[in-house]
């Protein structure tokens, strides 16, 4: 088949910025069949398959793209699904520009093949086709417990279930999905899509128990007593960091976790739901990651007139996905780079009135390799706001670590694992995702869940010998 020489990615239709900034519907609408086939034809099918090496879950990218080019969409989906438990999610939220697409040879002279958009297309086409029920694998008689139903846990559960394990996933809150449900907003990842992905895991036999806070209602030891032969801990990094500055106790200061959970999980933006949400006029979001972008764009959608991203480094240092930064700008979010908060100011009623900030300049690289921000003395200025959202990261929840003997953690509270096997310092207990790395991405967590599933399988098969 002739290669499509088009230098740019086939554009994906999106809602207009002015329109979407006032609703929670998905921003990007996805490819049509013709767009997908056109884009798929841009793939060179390199022998060395560099894109695959950029994928943490090893999706056989050129194969599924070839299937799309041949209009075998279900085949493409099955190719992705063979190594990726959540294709519709990854197609939407992966930082493709730093993974698969960064390795694409087409990206040297022009834009890389839009691998993420094609993955999404294959997954969405499969979902719309309402294909036959998945076949339940033959049970192998072994039980594994998975703690946490976020991307790491779901991937680990899916992979083990496909190998015939009887897998039970324990979720602390009332809905499965973890950060995919409470963190990432509807306009970026529709919740019906997450639930469809989870339903397809249930179809292959994964049991999900919600409202189960492991460490409280059951301990890891009790899970072993109940006959689970291995436990995977994928409980994420759920503990929000605060700014540690004066005035943080003022009303109107909250973690991005709280703000996003009210909106995404509890649907506070919809009239028929009971959970309340503050609708602020002027919002400062502190941080430069995807969570900061999500919070800022949500604040805009709730009607804020001014939404500021307050970030202490420069635009190039921002960890957020390029597309999120781009979308946020289009929607009118105002970026204050090289700006750091010093204190939150409030009125007599204890409500936020302003965020005092200082200017920063970039110095030499720090431990993370990024240039260290240095405060410009005497540059203090006030930003008039009535809400401040801290989106400066999360650390792992200590609940499991503190209730399970033999689990070592580092000084940031992250579980220590053997990187070869993902086994923790306790036999039979594996861990992966943010609980090990600290807050990172959906796809890295999925990669870890996949890796752990392989090790758990080897461990349990090894025990039988």
């Amino acid at each position: 088949m002739a290669v499509n020489k088009q230098m740019e990615k086939t554009p994906m239709p999106e809602q207009e910025p002015q329109i979407r900034a006032a609703n929670f519907e998905e921003v990007a609408k996805g490819y049509t069949v013709e767009m997908a086939v056109n884009e798929a034809q841009r793939c060179l099918h390199c022998k060395t398959r560099p894109c695959v090496s950029g994928c943490p879950v090893n999706v056989q990218i050129p194969d599924f793209i070839a299937q799309i080019a041949e209009r075998d969409f279900e085949g493409a989906y099955q190719t992705i699904r063979a190594t990726n438990s959540l294709p519709a999610v990854c197609g939407r939220v992966c930082p493709q520009e730093s993974q698969c697409e960064s390795k694409c040879v087409r990206g040297i002279k022009g834009e890389p093949v839009a691998i993420g958009r094609l993955e999404r297309f294959a997954a969405d086409t499969h979902m719309h086709a309402e294909t036959e029920c998945a076949v339940k694998p033959v049970p192998n008689g072994h039980k594994v417990a998975v703690i946490g139903s976020g991307p790491a846990g779901l991937t680990c559960a899916g992979d083990l279930a496909r190998l015939g394990y009887e897998v039970t996933v324990f979720e602390a809150i009332h809905t499965a999905g973890g950060v995919l449900m409470y963190g990432i907003p509807e306009f970026r990842l529709p919740k019906t899509i997450v639930q469809r992905e989870i339903a397809s895991l249930r179809e292959i036999g994964v049991d999900i128990e919600t409202n189960m806070v492991i460490g409280k209602v059951l301990s890891v030891d009790e899970l072993f007593e109940q006959g689970f032969e291995a436990v995977f801990v994928g409980s994420g990094a759920g503990l929000p960091s605060f700014l540690g500055i004066q005035g943080e106790e003022l009303l109107g200061v909250m973690s991005a976790n709280e703000f996003l959970t009210r909106i995404n999980l509890m649907k506070a933006y919809r009239d028929e739901y009971d959970t309340p949400i503050k609708r602020a006029k002027r919002v400062a979001v502190v941080g430069g990651g995807n969570v900061a972008m999500d919070a800022a764009r949500c604040a805009k959608r709730l009607g804020a007139e001014h939404v500021y991203i307050v970030y202490r480094r420069g635009e190039n240092e921002m960890p957020a996905r390029l597309e999120e930064i781009h979308h946020a700008k289009e929607e009118g979010v105002e970026f204050l780079f090289l700006t750091a908060p010093v204190q939150v100011l409030g009125d007599e009623g204890g409500r936020v009135t302003a965020l005092e900030c200082v200017d920063m300049v970039l110095g030499g690289p720090d431990a993370s390799g990024r240039r260290r921000p240095i405060e410009v003395e005497g540059s203090n200025h006030e930003l008039s706001v009535d809400m401040v959202i801290a989106a400066i990261g999360n650390t792992p929840n200590p609940l499991i670590r503190t209730t399970t003997e033999g689990l070592e953690a580092n000084r940031r509270g992250c579980l220590v694992v053997n990187e070869e096997t993902m086994q923790t310092t306790r036999e039979g207990v594996y861990a992966g995702g943010d609980v090990v790395t600290g807050a990172a991405t959906v796809i890295l967590a999925m990669g870890a869940g996949k890796h752990a599933a392989r090790s758990i399988d080897e461990y349990i098969r090894g025990k039988g010998r």
Partner: protein, 276 residues
């Protein structure tokens, strides 16, 4: 689903429910709480566990109709079920090692003071209990509290039961009489707990209070329940809900509790139930 096995009205605004939740019942300890959600569109609200029966697999909750969700909850009857019921959350009360304890409950707070008194009593402490209500018509759990305390004092704001005065009046009287408490536990509205804290501070008696701030997940994820204790930020859900009353920033806690007052009034539930 978590079925309501028993429902009883304790006074016109306070209801008791026994919920079928065997796993929670098995682990529950005094001082811990649950989070429930009535239905799909409902909020998650925390309620302290009022009692539990591990054998029968039941957890008792007692709530006052103060907002949309508690009004909605009160419309449910025996045989109905709650959509979500998660727990036990938070740290349990340390009950060992105390000899003389005063447990102070204010209004619906008595529902939580009662299991504390029960646990301390069972652990061998001599328990004096002071329960305060606005008037005699809304006195509740008198028999239960009497059964787990060595002395029970029921106080009314208006004196309608013959004992007029706030709980702090009685507590001060007991302290002045020379009762050497090694612990005071106070549970009730924030102003009451604060008043107890201010009183016992003068007497140098260790005092614990059970905080009930706004929460969403109850596992440390949102930080909505944070409060300042001893100059440090603490999360009531995982570090509490009980804290040293003499270390709490009471002004801050009171402001945070009122945060969503405006939204509560707008909320659908209040429109639906506001007239009751």
């Amino acid at each position: 689903m978590y079925t309501i096995l028993h429902k009883r009205s304790l006074n016109p605004s306070v209801t008791l429910m026994k919920i079928d939740a065997p796993l929670v019942a098995k682990k529950a300890r005094a001082g811990q709480f649950i989070i429930l959600r009535v239905n799909e569109t409902g909020e998650r609200i925390p309620l302290t566990i009022a009692d539990h029966d591990a054998e029968k697999g039941t957890v008792t909750i007692i709530f006052q109709k103060v907002g949309g969700t508690t009004f909605l909850l009160d419309t449910l009857n025996e045989g109905d079920a709650l959509l979500d019921f998660v727990g036990p959350l938070g740290r349990a009360t340390e009950v060992d090692g105390y000899h003389r304890v005063a447990v102070v409950g204010g209004g619906v707070g008595c529902a939580i003071a009662y299991p504390e008194a029960k646990a301390l009593h069972a652990a061998g402490a001599k328990v004096d209990m002071i329960a305060g209500f606005r008037n005699k018509d809304i006195v509740m759990l008198e028999e239960e509290m009497g059964a787990v305390s060595d002395r029970l004092y029921v106080m009314t704001d208006d004196g309608s039961n013959g004992n007029k005065g706030f709980v702090t009046v009685k507590l001060q009287e007991l302290l002045d009489e020379g009762n050497a408490y090694d612990l005071v536990i106070a549970i009730g509205p924030l102003p009451m707990m604060r008043a107890v804290a201010e009183l016992t501070k003068k007497y140098g008696v260790k005092t614990l209070v059970s905080m009930n701030p706004i929460m969403i997940d109850g596992t440390g994820m949102c930080g909505g329940c944070r409060l300042t204790v001893g100059g440090e930020v603490k999360f009531a859900c995982v570090d509490g809900p009980e804290f040293d009353a003499h270390q709490i920033d009471w002004d801050g806690a009171m402001k945070r509790l009122g945060q969503y007052k405006e939204e509560e009034h707008e909320c659908n539930l209040m429109k639906r139930f506001g007239k009751q």
